[in-house]
Each structure stands twice: as C-alpha cells, then as structure tokens.
Symmetry: D2
Subunit: 295 residues, 4 copies
C-alpha cells in the first residue's frame, strides 16, 4: 500500500534515499535547492506550506538538527522549522531521524507522533562499517607508494569496523595483525586469519608495522607509543571523537596520521542513502503489526 513520505533536509545521501523510496511510494523532498536534481518520481517542494496533504512518514538527516530548532539542511539556504513538521504529519505517523535529541523526541511525542532514531540501530552501524572500511583502504592505497600486499598492517580494536576491514583486506595478501584487550576478540582474530597481540603488549610490537588502522576511541597511540613506530608508518584513525592518537605529538614526530570521520557519506553517498532506506524499511517491518492509522 502506497505511503506518503517527506524527506526533509540532508545531503546527497537523502537524494538517493528519496529515489529509492519513490519507486513504491509517494515521495516529497524539502530542503534541497542547491544544485540537486531529482527524477520526476520525487516531488520537490520549496517550503512546508506548499505541501497539500499530510504524510505518513518524515525522514530527517543525521543529525536531524544542529541547533535544536531547525532541520539540518546543508543543501538549502532556507530553514525548515522542526515545529512546522508536526502539522504536516498524520497523527500516529513516524518521524525518522539521526542522533535525535531528547528535546526533539519530546516535541514530537507531545503531538502523538512516533520518533525513530535510525542512526542508533545496530544494523545501520554494521552496514556503514562496510563503507568505512572501503574508505579507509582507499586512503591507505592513496597514501602509500607500496602495494598493500607487501605491508604489515595492524588493526587496533575488534569491533564492527575492524572485523569488516579484516575481511576486505583478506584478498590483498597483506600480513594483518589485531590488537585487542578481550581474549575472545583475540580468538576471533585468529579465526579471521590474523595474528593477534594483547593490547597490554602493544608497545613491544608497534615498531614492525607499516600501516595502522585504529578503531578504538581512546588515547592508545600516545607519545610513548608513537616514538616506537618505524618512520614510514602510516596511521589511519577511524575512531570517533576524541580519536585514538595524540595528533599533536604525531605531527611533531613526523608520523603521518590521517583522521577519517564520517566516511560513508563521503566515499559512498549512494550506498549510504540505500543503507538509510534499508534501515527504515527494517523498522517498518518490525512495526508491522502496528500500522499507521488510515485517514
């Protein structure tokens, strides 16, 4: 059954998202007036006022808002007030958004509107790890004058991104080691064909690596550690803030360090849009027994 969606705000990912949804639904887009071209299946609206009917679902970007008052619309010079959304969605409808604040949550709930933070879903994080891993490997290729096949690579951490990069690297013939604290993470490293180092022993081994991917948001690569690196070692930090590297000291020591944040939207916006679409579809599937009331 055809549903009505409003995609409000966001970047190139949300263009892809709108197109992905437009195949089977009625889709409006607001907050895209800078050089974005939609297919004819998507109805671009200039402001909320021009919307002639209420929608079932509104999709906001990540983060949904930067100021707590208006939608995050990097592709538009005009602002969309969060408050204005409450009057264009059906009662019982759902607002989907990323990094939803408590205030925002409260605003919609008070109007009988459900809120879902797709950015907090585990499968969203897993699917994005693929794009993060690919982006990290691309940068490693660009920044080195050797093939990956001849490199000794260390991955710090054994979470989603680490497991994904290990698999992505598997065909390149590089020697890959994992450093982690938990013994079961070290056991997984072995299953995935990597050598492994307990994080407490990291200092003794660090000097043998050519490329280090850090995925742990804790200050592990401090001055003492950085001093043990071989001089051509490249550090690619994928950890969210505050990162895992003492960047100032790395700079001073001449250690080449690159901190990559928010890779999926940058290196693979099309795929990222599809991941958001898939996550929203999953949420709706889970809510299956709980239909949006018909008008």
């Amino acid at each position: 059954m055809l549903k009505k969606y409003l995609i409000a705000g966001g970047d190139l990912r949300y263009v892809t998202l709108a197109e992905a949804l437009a195949g089977k639904n009625s889709v409006y887009a607001a907050g895209f007036d800078k050089n974005v071209i939609f297919s004819k299946k998507v109805t671009l609206i200039k402001s909320l006022a021009s919307l002639k009917e209420r929608v079932d679902y509104i999709i906001l970007p990540i983060p949904a808002t930067n100021d707590g008052v208006t939608v995050n619309t990097p592709f538009s010079g005009n602002s969309i007030p969060l408050g204005g959304l409450t009057s264009i969605i059906k009662e019982g409808g759902i607002v989907f958004g990323g990094r939803i604040t408590e205030e925002m949550n409260a605003l919609f709930k008070s109007c009988g509107i459900k809120v879902e933070d797709y950015s907090a879903r585990e499968e969203f994080a897993v699917m994005n790890a693929v794009a993060t891993g690919e982006g990290a490997i691309q940068v490693a290729m660009e920044e080195t004058a050797s093939t990956l096949s001849s490199q000794k690579i260390l991955i710090i951490g054994m979470g989603r991104i680490a497991k994904t990069i290990i698999r992505q690297l598997s065909g390149f013939g590089a020697e890959v080691a994992v450093a982690a604290r938990k013994y079961h993470d070290l056991a997984w490293a072995e299953i995935f064909g990597c050598s492994h180092i307990h994080i407490d022993d990291l200092g003794s081994f660090l000097g043998s690596f050519d490329i280090i991917f850090n995925t742990v948001p804790a200050m592990l690569l401090d001055e003492k550690m950085l001093k043990t690196l071989n001089k051509n070692c490249l550090i690619i930090d994928l950890a969210s803030k505050p990162g895992g590297v003492d960047f100032d000291t790395a700079g001073r020591l001449g250690v080449k360090t690159i901190w990559l944040l928010s890779l999926p939207g940058k290196v693979a916006p099309l795929t990222s849009g599809k991941i958001i679409a898939q996550t929203i579809e999953n949420i709706l599937n889970e809510r299956g027994a709980e239909p949006v009331p018909e008008e």
Copy 2:
C-alpha cells in the same frame, strides 16, 4: 615460576592439556589408567593418596562431575572423590573445571579454594567453534556424493558457530545463505559474502537447499518446514539440546538428519586440549595481580 598442577579425570583432551602444561610446570595426572600413555614430563598417580605435596591448581574435565560426588573419569575404573581434592590443594589455590555446579562451587569455597569454570568463558566457546565448524564440514563431505562447490548451503543462526562455518566454507565455492532474525545479523551475513533470509520467510526458501547447518537450539525445522525440503537435502544439526529439528518427523519423512554434539572433543581432541590450556592461561593472566600464596 614453576607451578604444581593436578589434572584429575577427563579424556584424551586432558592428556594433551597435561603435556602442554608440563613444559613449564610440574604436572601430576590422576584418573587415567585405561591405555593412556603420558610422556616422562607428566607424573601419573594412581590415587590422590600417593600425591606427596599440595598443588597450586587442579584441572577437572567438562563436566567436572556427573554425580556431584566424584570426578568425571571416563578413562579410569577408579573413582576420585571431589571432597578428597580439598586436602591436596594449597589454600588460595584454584580448581578449574567445566560446567561447575553451585554445590561444587560451594564445597571448594568453604575450604578457601577458588573455583573457575573455563567452559563458561567466551573465548573458550569461540575457539571451540573452529573445531565444531570443521567437524560439521567433514561430516557434510562424508555424507554427500557431490562436491561442496556445487551445493546450496543454508546456515540457520548467525552466532559463533555460524560465523566460523561461513568463513571455513568460503574457499569451496558453494552458495551459502544465512537465515536469522535480527537485522544486524543479516547485515553481517552480507559482509561475509552470503545471501540472507529473514527467519520469518524461511518457509518459502527452504526447498532450494542441498545442505542445512542448524545452529539454533529451538524447534525451527518442524513438520511443516521439513515437508518443504527437497528430497536429497541433508540436515546437520549443531544446536545443543534440544536441537532444532523434529527428528522423529524427519525420520518418518526420510529426511537425512545428523545431530552432532560435542564435536571438538571428538574430531579434534588434541586441539581441544590446547584450547583448554589456552583458556586457563588467560584466566591466570587476568588474575596476574592476585598470585597464589607461596608456602
């Protein structure tokens, strides 16, 4: 620093374990009088009475006891009373065992002896998944007249064993699909190169598979499901009791079904012994700051 160990009871795995420990420690073994040959590094004792000194650590098998009173000694006709162990271990020493009951735990604690259940450790389960996966693949090879390369394989579940089998199968060229309930498990299936089916949709796809590995201990393959299978499909159930297959109905329908339990000790006793040794080493490393008191 040299430690004194007593290995009491168990099967071939514990012979390997004793030998693994004997390199760097003083190791006694009790409960092995049926055709087991130890190297000279291990001192075989006939009964606890013949032990001339107290030990730091006692290692019991999985399960440590079958009757709550004596040690599980499948390789011996003589019994070793659990109570007798308390007088041959130093105060502050550690008893390691598998599937430790509350009663047993209480018995040792009341004597000032620490108890560790190595079979409850996550890394123990992960490392054993490797042996379980290999055993399952071996049986699949033995029971089919086709190569794995030409088979459509379904794995039900996406836990440790499933993830391990997926990787082990990766070089064979089989088409591998995963059925799971959680969306992030389906996302992992995709990362690992598998197609994926939500468990609620399983019925529609089941008929296309040649081999099914079940890892979920819940009755999924019931009569209704079994009737949809193609007639040459082989089911290998790896789930712990009660398994995931209606075995009676499978038998009646002529569906070839094999329930494989406790594979590691059966297909890879040497490796299994080393896994127990590694797990105990991990426990001792974690307890590093907490040394056994010297006499």
Copy 3:
C-alpha cells in the same frame, strides 16, 4: 533439437550423466545391470541388439576400454564389443570417451565416426581438481586429531590441484606453504596468501609441517627427505602414478602416508557425472558450425 545418446558402460558417474542429458535429449543406457536405478527418462537396454534406431552420440567411460576389445562396464556382467558400436551410430556421429587409445580412434574413424576424448580436455581437468581437492581435505580432516586451523600445511607443486586446494583451505586459518621450482609459481603462491619455498631448499623446511599434500608425480619425498619429517606428519599424495613418495621407506620409518588416486569418482560421483556432461556440452558447442548430419 532433440539428439539421441547412448551411454555405454561406466559407473555411478554415468548414471548421473545419463540423467543430466535426459532432460533435453533421448537417452539410452547400456551396461548397467547391477543394482542401478534410472529414472523413466532414460531407456535402459540389455544389449546393443535391442536398440531400434541409430544414435547421434555414444558416450563411453574413463577408460573407454580396458582390453581394447570391449567397453569398460564395471556395473555389468555382460560385455559390449567396441566393434558393435560402429553399426548403431549415425555416420558423422561422435563417440565420446576417456583415455581413448590410438587403436580405438582408428577403428571409429575408419567407419566415418568422429572421436572425442573428453578426459583430455583442460576444463575437464580443472573441474575435477575441485573434487580432488575436497576429497584430499576430507581425508586430512579424518586422519588428524587436530583442527586444520592449527596445522602447518605444505603443498608440493603449483598446478591445478594445488591452486584449488589452496583456495579451499583459505577459510580454515591454517598456515599454508607452497614448494615449487618455477619462480612464477612462487609468485602465484604469494598472491594466493601462502608462504613459499623453492623446491631445491625443501629439505631445510620439511620438518616443520604437520600435513603435506603432494601433487607432483616425481620422487621428491625419498628416504633422505622422509627422515627429516616430524614424527606425526601426515603425507597425502595426490600425484598420479608413480606418485611422489617412496612408500616403502615411509612405511618402514612409520610416516603415515596416504595415496589418493581417482578421487572425483569416489568422493563426488554425482558432481563427476555433471562434469563429464558439461565437458561434452562444451565440445558440442565448439563444434557448433559442424552439425551432425540429419538422416
């Protein structure tokens, strides 16, 4: 366009082959009177005399004949004379067989019948390497009390079977090394993630392996080499006659050695039958411009 086939002689593989062809063709089978059950799509005939029409193609087994006079019919007590085949095939028809001798070739050609040795085709050898590799891995699993994941494995040679086993082993986490003579084979070993040893240096490294797969039909593992092995090493010889191991000396030294010949037909007869069918289809595709004359 429907073609008429006669499958004459052979084992379980040829039953599968007959069934594979029967979907789109008219298929007769002769030489199968021992407990073989065909579907209704295949017409089983007791002797060539009972065939009421000439066929387009005759398929003989590998080898096509053992005595040069009758078809190789391991599943029948009755013999089928090779000479009798010439009168039941259309002029311009094709006889397919394995290990065709010059005499046999001459016999059919003199009657205007074409002959194709499918066992001499490169793709036939490549596809069979898959079954050989799987069979070898199955035996390695059965004959060792450790997981493959914990083994050091040596593959001698870098031909079809070696390359296939390397890939099949890739998910098990074993350390795999290749010994070969040609430098480009060593380069391939590196691409496929293996360490590598020039065959001239083999003696210095042999003692470190747990499992050796030999694929080279030359006496490499002679007494001098065998004496350097560790005592639990398992040798699996996959080389065709004369093999690559001094089996007598291996026996005397207590080195466990298994010589596996003709694995595809043994471990995967169904797949082997399909491989023969595929190879014959390829030959016919290549001959596309050269149709069998219509009667």
Copy 4:
C-alpha cells in the same frame, strides 16, 4: 660474495632497487640528478667517466632505451650513451634491462657481455599483476559514489591480472563475473567464486554491470557493445595498447572510461623496485652454476 652493480637510468623504482641491492653489494647509481636522495650505501656518480672500477652487473630501466642510442634517464638532464656501458662492465658481466631490442642485445653480445631482459620474465609479470590490480581497485573506489560491496563487477579475460583482481576483490562482497573464451578459463572463474559468461554471449549480459575491468588487448567493447551498457557503468581498461575499448565512441556515448597503463610504477613505485630486484635475484640464482669470472 660482494658484487658491484651500476644502476643506470630509470625512475623512483630504481632508487628503491638500488637501496635493496645496496645492503649486500657495492652499488653505483648514474642518471639521477633531479631531486633524488639516496642513502649513504649507494654511490651516486655524475657520469660513467667518474666510475673508477668495472662492475659485474648493470641494471637499465624499462624500456632500457627510447632512442636506441642512450639510456632512458627520466630523472636526469644528462644522457648516458649505451655504447659507453660496454667499457665499464667486466667481460662476462651481465646487463639487465627491460624491453631490450635486438640491436641492443647485439651490441653487448659483440663485447662478450650477457644480456637479460627481466621485463620478459613470467614471474615479473605475475608480481606486477598485484600492483596493477591494486591500482585498478583504487581507481574504481575513487571514481564511484557507491561501495564496491554493492556493485556488479565484470572482469573481461582470465589471465594474470584478472586472476589477481578476482582475489583482491574477494573480501569486498561485490558480485564478480568473468567473461572469457576458453572453457577452462570459465572453470577457473567458478573455482575462484565468480559467475562466468562465454565471451560470445557477452552482449546479452553487459547491461547488468556497474564496473567493468577489461584485461584483453582486443577491441571487444565496440560501439554495439557500449550501447548496451547501463548509463552509470564505469569501464576501467587495463589492457596494453591498443586497449579493448572504442574510446572515441565511449566518449561520444558518455560512457565513463579510464585507460590505466603502467600502473605498478605509478601506484606502487617502492614495491615495483623490489619486484625488479627480486626478478634479477631469480635470474642470478638460475645462473648459479655460471659465475661471473673473477678478475
């Protein structure tokens, strides 16, 4: 035993090569006066005249000469005459070079100097396929706004580069298909986990791919084929001249096409230098019984 080398001409690869050899030999370098820094282990000479002793081996770049008269020295403004080399190498010494012409070969042979073309060695081509594959994947990542994991990729050809890219892509989760003419190449594609298309059937399938890597230097992707592509398809042509794409038509049709030549030296100069060093070492090993005469 220490040998004397002269590295004459070439680019960054030959700096790495000089350093790799300098560990165990006496190494001179000529033809590097533009911003190249060598370690102290390498003796940089301004002209051949400043060389005080004869060398055992001279290493020239790929191609060794562009004009047939002087060495190819892209990193120098001064020329090195080929003829001048004959007087600074010992009789019986070896000149190594890439794409050696017959004239050049004759020149050295007439002076009793041996000539080896390392660029014609099979292992050189295999090792370089690794760098070519990595470079091609890097460009594919850079030029697409989707992850590789979500792409349908076609590889045309099944030679060294194709086999290497297939393996390098194996961890990304992309769907990879191979188009080739020989049936055994299609069989290899299947072993390596790819679907496969006979090249004669390519036209019917071409429209379903997102990325095409061509490795065959023949005009396969002509106007008729290009017109069947989906509009966002990216073609990466890795074939040597004349390439495999009708570039003019591709441009006219708006098909994004990138022709990548000589990737190893561009994307991985350090590794490329080591590959040349390894190839020369292999040649010397093979010539082992044929020592350079001592003075």
